[in-house]
């Protein structure tokens, strides 16, 4: 297997590519007819994609038996949080015009904003406890339990997207189906690997 430090660099550089292109296009005024909407939509989409990618790591590792993939999990999750934060900032600046009161109003009145806020808020403790030091401090078991919140955050993110579209629900439904498959995989693994599972079957 190649050097994980270099492989991580590859993932990092690729994860920064969309941000760089977004900034580049923004600087040259080529974000399309509605640049604000484009930037908000694209960063939201990136947050959701990275969250899904981070959730794919463990199933992929179990299916292939290649533990190497775990090297990327933390970085993918942190990029999901990062793009989510950029998404929130753009919404706060352009959609709400720097007005915190209007953000809170929006959150209480609009289910889709509430879901989005919940997704990001759920990712916050995961980002904070993502360091090796924090894993040690919490203990592996507690840390693992806490980080199952990533699934809840992903569902909130998908709900946020689903409630936003007018009639064509194909894209958010696609995310929902992918997430469902990941969850079913976890469930199967849990049922077949819990202590005493074999005894129960026998």
């Amino acid at each position: 297997m190649p050097d994980p430090r270099f492989a991580k660099l590859v993932v990092f550089v690729n994860a920064v590519v969309p941000l760089s292109l977004l900034l580049w296009d923004g600087a040259f005024g080529s974000l399309g007819v509605n640049p604000v909407e484009f930037a908000i939509r694209t960063t939201g989409m990136l947050a959701l994609i990275f969250l899904m990618l981070s959730l794919c790591v463990t199933p992929l590792r179990r299916i292939t038996g290649v533990n190497y993939f775990s090297h990327f999990r933390r970085m993918l999750g942190l990029f999901a949080f990062f793009y989510g934060c950029v998404h929130l900032c753009l919404y706060f600046i352009f959609d709400r015009g720097f007005d915190l009161v209007r953000v809170v109003e929006d959150m209480l009145q609009r289910p889709f904003i509430f879901f989005g806020a919940a997704a990001l808020l759920l990712m916050l403790p995961l980002a904070i406890t993502s360091t090796n030091k924090m894993i040690k401090r919490l203990g592996a078991m507690r840390w693992k339990r806490l980080h199952r919140l990533a699934y809840v955050a992903a569902w909130a993110g998908v709900g946020h997207y689903y409630l936003l579209v007018k009639a064509d629900t194909r894209k958010p439904s696609g995310f929902a189906i992918a997430l469902g498959i990941l969850l079913v995989f976890r469930l199967i693994y849990f049922l077949t690997h819990r202590p005493g599972a074999k005894a129960a079957v026998a």
Binding site: V17, G32, V33, N34, T42, R110
Partner: protein
């Protein structure tokens, strides 16, 4: 000629050839560059459909507006910066072609609108089927600069070219029993490829109350910026009622019918609690899922307040006197 090696660089400090061409670093740089290029390519591919250049013929008999922009008056010419032609023609909803606002223009680029007929039937004394040239004879297109407010909370200012719907209706002589006007878009899944999906019930239908249809602001548009309406914006003929949300402006009309009862309208059928029959622009009545208080004017970075009846209250508010606009959204 003899070229001497400068004396100030000692031999041992000159990079050996084998390091200079370090195979490993070279490969790594290659991996970084190629994966980044691939990621960038996918990003661009997913986000920016190749946009066709929209070049339409100029309308021959266009009547340029003579009324000066004013605060009151008939509302025919709004005195606000006009949205660029490229934005109007490359960012809009036309679900028959694509549900992606920037995907409509490329998907509609080859949509042929000749020949084209529009039939007018129902509760009229003189039902008739027009072709496009007959329609043009009803009234020459005149310029109307209207605000366009989408239910999704973005807006434009569009210089339409068209004629008052009332002129067409007067021609077919509505019966006194006719209380509503219904419109229907072309149904042809081969020419309108997204009609092969079921994102909406097809064909797209819309409707107006008779007094709304007869209002001087309500036009059938055949052009934008003095040029023939491009396919992505509803060629060859579309409805424009500027005080209503954009989805009321049904595109590529093939049939107009007069009814005694309220006809079904597509978005109302698709989401009855979200899209009403009237769909008047109203900052006080929110869409159940998002606010209608503000809007993003295309070309601006920050939002502006949405105006009651999209700023056409002086002209149309009387149509709804005594009506509960919260219930009749």
């Amino acid at each position: 000629m003899l070229i001497r090696k400068p004396d100030d660089i000692p031999d041992k400090e000159i990079t050996p050839l084998k390091d200079y061409l370090n195979r490993r670093n070279f490969l790594r740089a290659g991996v970084l560059a190629s994966t980044s290029l691939a990621t960038g390519w996918v990003y661009r591919k997913l986000n920016f459909p190749k946009q066709p250049v929209t070049q339409q013929a100029e309308l021959a008999d266009l009547v340029v507006a003579t009324t000066q922009p004013s605060a009151g008056g008939n509302g025919f010419i709004v005195n606000e910066p006009q949205t660029p032609y490229d934005s109007i023609t490359h960012y809009n909803n036309f679900y028959e072609f694509s549900t992606d606002k920037e995907g409509v223009a490329p998907a509609a680029a080859n949509f042929v609108t000749r020949p084209w007929t529009v039939s007018i039937a129902g509760l009229v004394r003189k039902p008739v089927t027009f072709d496009l040239d007959d329609l043009r004879k009803i009234a020459p297109p005149e310029e109307r600069v209207y605000r366009m407010r989408c239910v999704e909370a973005w807006s434009m200012v569009i210089p339409w070219d068209g004629f008052s719907l009332s002129k067409l209706l007067e021609r077919v002589q509505p019966l006194s029993s006719a209380k509503f006007v219904g419109f229907q878009t072309l149904l042809d899944p081969r020419r309108m490829p997204n009609q092969q999906t079921d994102v909406l019930p097809w064909p797209y239908v819309e409707g107006l109350r008779m007094d709304e249809a007869m209002h001087p602001l309500t036009i059938l548009a055949t052009g934008i910026y003095g040029r023939a309406l491009p396919p992505q914006d509803g060629a060859p003929l579309r409805l424009v009622a500027p005080w209503k949300y954009g989805f009321k402006g049904i595109k590529s009309i093939v049939k107009i019918s007069l009814f005694a009862d309220k006809p079904p309208t597509t978005w109302n059928v698709a989401g009855p609690n979200e899209y009403g029959f009237y769909a008047n622009v109203n900052p006080l009545v929110d869409h159940p899922r998002w606010s209608q208080a503000t809007e993003q004017r295309i070309g601006d970075y920050f939002r502006r307040k949405t105006l009651m009846f999209n700023g056409y209250g002086e002209q149309v508010a009387s149509l709804y006197a005594g009506m509960d606009l919260r219930r009749n959204y």
